[in-house]
Symmetry: C2
Subunit: 520 residues, 2 copies
């Protein structure tokens, strides 16, 4: 196999790691399993925040949430934050997007710099540095930045809004009903499978890759599924049954006064009120599983196309998710907080380089963070890193079996719940709703502003059932883990306008600048 010329960076939205068969899950994912056999499955991969926006901005900037500042879904990514696209462009390339990025444009920032939103530069900055082939974030009907609505209409879905009327709609006893209502999750979507979101975006990606011919490329193929609404097209709507969904994670502390106040407040959210009912969770899980199986099937199309065109031999493939989904575990629904269901994600990396032959099919137990993606892509393409700005480390040494000196021994994740109802329930100011997680081999510790911490002995309590955040006898452990967070907070990347190498070259150099301070 040859050197990396192309990069395919695939993301799913709201995909639980433990659902994939290559991670021991109940949904057969033969195509991801095959990718895992060609590459490395990272078993301890964590996102920098358990919610789309900040998680993705960490994937795209290579920086922790506290550094990039896009702390929740509706928070624009500052135009001052360079992304993967910027770094690649400085090397003469770029990154194309098919699907979801969740980048919120920083229009105030653009105005400050006098950049017209519809200028070439403005378009790129508003897109977070992606060249958008087809941008489609889900949640709301596809807009003009996506061809999906027109494409559907051309295929007979006659509607001003074919997404709402067909894609996320079903039919129940002659009535058109909405996929937003979880009661309809057992029904098939009104689109044919080949016209679903996942099918469409796969078509877009395959056409774009084919059009590149022999030119090198970097593509972010970013599926909105299995994200809400939980409604699958036939036959995926009926692929799984309640009995396939497995047991629920339950803790004796759930819902009691012993559980953490922030967790307790989250239970007031609609999705937790619904998913807190096991009958609802059992009703929805099969649809979710079907959506996962569907994504895998379309990834099979992608991988086969790459194989047939010879691109498997020179394309670095990264597969991951922006976060998971509770699906009724712990009586919770949706995402956020710091349980493994949410922040521990699948991460499969297949490196075509011959130096990676020795690790193919391996499961790597070392800790990896989402911010590793930017430096990994740059490293694979032979571009210089941006160590003073990007806070992650390239995974190539792990993939290529090079002994990485002192690899990381913990991971960090963050949450800002200021936009959530929980803030109001808890009576917090918008600036004081932060949580910080550190996960070591033995422990998971979460520090919450204004509340006691959470602590889980994950070595013995892998399901995180027993919160030791207030338990006697663990004071020293909590203190040590808080120390880890201190070191991390104190060490975040601050000086982004000058590189470390420049600092070192200029150390003690004032004489050369004609400044002769301190001489007798």
């Amino acid at each position: 196999m040859s050197a990396v010329r192309n990069v395919l960076f695939i993301m799913c939205d709201q995909l639980r790691r433990d659902h994939l068969s290559c991670y021991g899950g109940r949904v057969p994912t033969p195509n991801l399993d095959a990718l895992a056999a060609r590459g490395v499955c990272f078993d301890e991969a964590y996102v920098q925040s358990g919610v789309c926006g900040p998680s993705r901005m960490s994937f795209y900037t290579g920086r922790y949430m506290s550094s990039h500042g896009a702390t929740w879904n509706r928070v624009p990514l500052s135009v001052g934050e360079p992304t993967l696209g910027d770094y690649l462009r400085s090397g003469g390339g770029g990154v194309a997007l098919a699907g979801k990025s969740h980048v919120m444009p920083d229009d105030e920032g653009l105005a400050r710099f006098g950049i017209a939103p519809d200028s070439d530069r403005g378009v790129l900055l508003r897109a977070g540095g992606f060249a958008e082939i087809d941008r489609y974030d889900g949640h709301t009907p596809p807009g003009p930045e996506s061809g999906y609505a027109d494409w559907l209409r051309a295929r007979g879905y006659a509607s001003a809004d074919p997404w709402s009327e067909f894609v996320i709609a079903a039919e129940d006893r002659g009535q058109v009903v909405s996929g937003w209502q979880m009661r309809n999750a057992h029904l098939p979507s009104r689109v044919q499978e080949v016209h679903s979101e996942t099918a469409y975006m796969t078509d877009v990606a395959l056409a774009w890759i084919a059009a590149q011919g022999e030119s090198p490329w970097v593509l972010h193929l970013s599926y909105v599924k299995p994200h809400w609404p939980y409604l699958a097209p036939a036959p995926y709507h009926a692929l799984f049954r309640d009995s396939d969904t497995g047991p629920f994670v339950r803790s004796p502390q759930d819902g009691t006064a012993d559980e953490h106040p922030v967790l307790h407040a989250y239970r007031t959210h609609d999705e937790c009120l619904s998913f807190g009912r096991e009958d609802i969770a059992r009703h929805v899980r099969p649809a979710y599983m079907g959506l996962v199986a569907q994504v895998d099937a379309h990834l099979g199309r992608v991988f086969r196309a790459l194989e047939m065109s010879g691109r498997l031999g020179d394309t670095l493939i990264i597969f991951t998710a922006d976060h998971g989904e509770f699906l009724g575990d712990r009586g919770l629904g949706e995402k956020e907080l710091f349980y493994d269901e949410i922040v521990r994600v699948p991460l499969i990396v297949a490196d075509p380089d011959g130096r990676a032959d020795g690790t193919r099919g391996h499961h790597d137990p070392r800790f990896v963070e989402a911010i590793a993606v930017v430096p990994t892509v740059l490293d694979a393409l032979g571009q210089n890193g941006v160590a003073h700005r990007s806070e992650g480390r390239s995974l190539l040494p792990l993939l290529r079996g090079e002994t990485a000196r002192a690899w990381r021994d913990c991971v960090f994740s963050e949450l800002d719940y200021s936009y959530r109802r929980a803030r109001v329930v808890l009576g917090r100011r918008a600036s004081a709703c932060r949580g910080f997680m550190v996960r070591t081999t033995e422990w998971k510790y979460v520090d919450w502003q204004g509340f006691r911490p959470q602590l889980f002995d994950v070595a013995r309590d892998s399901l995180e059932l027993n919160d030791l955040g207030a338990a006697a006898g663990f004071e020293r452990i909590r203190s040590e883990l808080r120390e880890r967070l201190f070191e991390w907070l104190a060490g975040l990347s601050r000086r982004t306008t000058v590189s470390d190498a420049q600092v070192e070259a200029r150390t003690d150099a004032h004489r050369r600048h004609g400044v002769h301070i301190g001489i007798w």
Copy 2:
């Protein structure tokens, strides 16, 4: 007295608080004393870093060093960091600069946004938002952004570089000698006093203020003195003698293995090697004191002009310094580190508003930080604050005797010594040279990356002679103060693209955006 229409924000460079007579110091400063009598002297005012660049960027952005990222003198202020000028311009005004700002332009940032450096926007961004009347940072000969060199030549100082040849030069037995050499500090500068840097910049400021007529204005008058070179024009060079300079601060720990490793490494710096000799310090201090007296004399001209034009009645005056100077205390010279000689600065604020009559002449013992200046200026001019970005609080409630609920009970300061020789001496990476200070009523605690902390019982040891950073019996105190730093680090302003008010208005609002997650 009437409402505030104008703001005069005066800064000195490298001015020690304890030298001013209004702060009990040995240099008579009758004009600053008069300002203090009209306003409030803050006794516990601290800068966010004890070095020009980052300290000033905190004054100008209203943000901690870790937030604005300009961590040392040669580090550009990211164009993404709005400054006082930006905030004032958004209200239809602006801020003019006469003198030093130490803003390093972020030319990479400009290039990223396609902004020509010589365009109106580019000029303003490169100047950190100041409209530069006359920019002169000292250290090196005045450039084209200052009229000082031409002005000197027009007054008979015939030279391609009249600054080096006259302003910072002296004559010694017929030879022209340099003010950079401290051995010459007893000699008068070769410029007449009325042609000195301080005189010139005062003239520039007075002419500009006069030209504003009845239009409101905001001016940053920023003297480079008493900063190096330590050479005063006659008669100020001879105003003080060795016997006027007072005792030196000395600790039994100075220079011993008991002192902190970072402090120990600073002793290898040229200025400490020189100022470490008491004979040199005694030789230089009188010149420094003369420069301070000279600044005060010219401030007298400013205040008299304001009085005669009626501007004292509608101008908020702020006087402060970017940091102090060791002047041989502790065997150290120059700045940085966290001793009071450096980070505790003079801050006098005179508010013409009648509501401030009750506090005139007061010394206020409450803690104040440099980042208070931006919100104070905006508050005084009736402009909205920028609480999600600026991290300081307006001082107006303190000036106007309004009981401020829960005023701050500590202050923070930071240092990044990566550019300094100390880094090499200590064998540190450029990204791991950070120090963080918290000062409470009783304690000063400094946390250093990779080294033990420093701790001073400032309530009993106000000169900070006994470093308890490694002393037994103080574990609990150190731990508590480190907790304060943790809370501070965790609470720094991150989400700069959306205000807290916007977050609160959008809390739990996904329904309104057509996203119906979580319903049955």
